[in-house]
């Protein structure tokens, strides 16, 4: 059914910390690796070793530069992972003509039943975040499943029962949890750090939250000896002699 559930028992999702993301794309690679080999059609590539490589990915990392309006300050670079936000009011679900797209009542995960998908692409048009990509080889829509085949999988070690991107992140910038439960570590993180929604004006009510970059603080600099500005001995003589030369 492509009608959205009025409410879900849990709201599983990701919390992405834009302060700690280092832009290494490990989440992109691990997502591709897990999801091409497991649930659903593989994530195909076209012309992978040619001049115009292109492929299906469920997670992409953009890098933005912010130049402070005040001027004089150093521009900041923020790495920005982008994937499905598992919206409460997911516009991708209601436009689906076949019922292939749905939002799970038990945990709020937005999924595609690939056997029902006709590959019309309308859900991808309806998504403001570009979370869905039509696979060229399979002709069906692919999207983040929040690794449904990991998070409840009794056949893998408990430590691995989280989305592949979260497991892979070397900076600890990705967190997974129930955002409807205010007591969950993920929800506490959102509350403590002022987590926000992407494009709230689109009215999609995303489950995934992003944590803003903190003010840049260099913790180590004050503890280090300052670099010597002048040298003594032979190097000092050479420095002075070359200045006069």
């Amino acid at each position: 059914m492509t009608s959205l559930p009025a409410s879900t028992e849990r709201s599983l999702g990701l919390v992405i910390d834009l302060d700690t993301c280092v832009g290494c794309h490990a989440c992109v690679v691990s997502c591709k690796e897990w999801n091409t080999a497991n649930y659903g059609a593989p994530l195909s590539d076209q012309d992978a070793y040619g001049a115009r490589p292109s492929g299906t990915f469920l997670n992409r990392v953009h890098s933005f530069e912010a130049v402070p309006e005040s001027g004089g300050e150093v521009p900041r670079v923020v790495h920005f992972p982008r994937s499905c936000l598992h919206c409460a009011d997911a516009p991708c679900v209601t436009v689906c003509p076949t019922g292939a797209s749905y939002k799970r009542t038990e945990d709020g995960i937005v999924l595609v039943n690939e056997a029902d998908c006709i590959g019309c692409g309308l859900c991808a048009w309806a998504c403001p975040y570009g979370a869905r990509e039509l696979d060229r080889a399979a002709g069906v829509m692919k999207k983040c499943t929040l690794c449904v085949d990991r998070i409840e999988n009794p056949n893998i070690p408990e430590i691995d029962r989280q989305p592949a991107c979260v497991r892979a992140c070397p900076a600890g910038a990705r967190h997974f949890g129930d955002l409807a439960d205010p007591g969950s570590p993920a929800a506490k993180l959102v509350a403590a750090r002022g987590g926000f929604d992407l494009m709230p004006e689109q009215g999609t009510r995303p489950v995934n939250k992003y944590l803003p970059p903190r003010e840049p603080v260099d913790l180590l600099a004050p503890l280090l000896d300052p670099l010597p500005q002048s040298a003594g001995g032979f190097l000092g003589w050479l420095d002075r002699a070359l200045d006069k030369f």
Binding site: M1, T2, S3, L18, G23, P53, S54, T56, F57, R60, V61, H62, S63, F64, E65, A66, V67, P68, E69, V78, F80, R82, P91, T94, V95, C96, P97, T98, G99, D116, C117, I118, G119, C120, G121, L122, A124, W125, A126, C127, P128, Y129, G130, E133, L134, A138, G139, V140, M141, F196, D197, L198, M199, P200, E201, Q202, G203, Y210, P212, P213
Partner: protein, 291 residues
């Protein structure tokens, strides 16, 4: 958005076909026997060709029957159901008219209502998209409906109604261009709201996530051709609206003039439909620093 030829052909041809069905159902089109059969076959042929063209943009066209199931929530599903409901109703009306010379007004009205509803459902697929602000307006269904009905009136040889409908289409199109150019800005989505990083300062994309193209860029971000949009607007508007009105102005048009008016209108509508897609900007482009 990417102007896919299959979707442009589908919306234009099926729009004409359903418009002609609506007009014939309302009693337009003079003649009986072979003439009536030709009118009806043209309407069914155009609508059918359009519906066939729509299958070509599906990734899994053999599963198209599943698209009839979600009419409660999906405009695409409603469109499919309405289109398939219109064809047999109009077919029955057409058979009675061309074979028995009997034009049942009630059956014709029902066929016309279904045909108009089909075109409305098609237009709502686009008008509902919050992610494409240019489309999200009551003017989108209005333009689709008037384009369909004016094309139908032209094909049915109804000179006077065609002129009035074309004039209305022209006015609506001009208003939509005037207002549509500002809708993206009015919707309020910017790179700052897309990333939530506006407080840090002026934003720009430093590095894209991938160096090659992907589905999103191919489908949703369109740069080529937009720079010609002003010229294409003029060409499309002249061909679709101005030329047919001018050709039909003298009154009783002969077959050649009427044929030229129809040809100009169809070519113009194809250009306008191409622009409808090519000019539409999807908010996902904000993540790529593109529109």
């Amino acid at each position: 958005m990417h102007p896919a030829p299959s979707i442009i052909l589908f919306t234009t041809l099926s729009g004409l076909g359903f418009g002609l069905m609506a007009m014939l159902g309302l009693g337009a089109g003079k003649g009986e026997g072979w003439i009536a059969a030709t009118f009806c076959a043209l309407a069914l042929g155009l609508a059918g060709a359009g519906l066939l063209a729509s299958l070509f943009h599906l990734g899994q066209p053999r599963r198209f029957l599943k698209a009839f199931s979600q009419w409660r929530s999906s405009w695409l599903s409603r469109e499919a159901l309405l289109a398939v409901a219109t064809l047999p109703v109009f077919g029955a009306y057409a058979a009675l008219w061309s074979l028995a010379g009997l034009r049942l007004a009630a059956l014709g009205l029902l066929a016309a209502a279904l045909a108009v509803a089909t075109v409305f459902a098609t237009s709502m697929i686009y008008a509902q998209m919050k992610s494409v602000p240019r489309w999200r307006s009551p003017l989108t269904p209005a333009i689709f409906l008037f384009a369909s009905l004016s094309g139908g009136a032209l094909l049915a040889g109804e000179t006077r109604p065609a002129t009035v409908l074309l004039a209305a289409l022209g006015v609506l199109q001009l208003i939509d261009w005037f207002r549509g150019d500002g809708r993206f800005a009015a919707a309020g989505s910017t790179m700052a709201t897309a990333t939530g990083l506006g407080a840090l300062g002026r934003l720009r994309l430093l590095e894209p996530p991938h160096t090659g193209p992907n589905y999103l860029l191919r489908e949703m971000v369109r740069v080529v051709g937009r720079r010609h949009s002003r010229r294409l607007r003029l060409i499309g508007f002249t061909a679709a609206v101005v030329l047919p009105i001018a050709l039909l102005a003298p009154g009783a048009a002969d077959h050649l003039t009427a044929g030229l008016a129809v040809l100009a209108h169809v070519v113009g509508m194809l250009v306008l439909r191409w622009l409808f897609f090519a000019e539409a900007e999807h908010v996902v482009g904000l993540y790529y620093g593109k529109r």
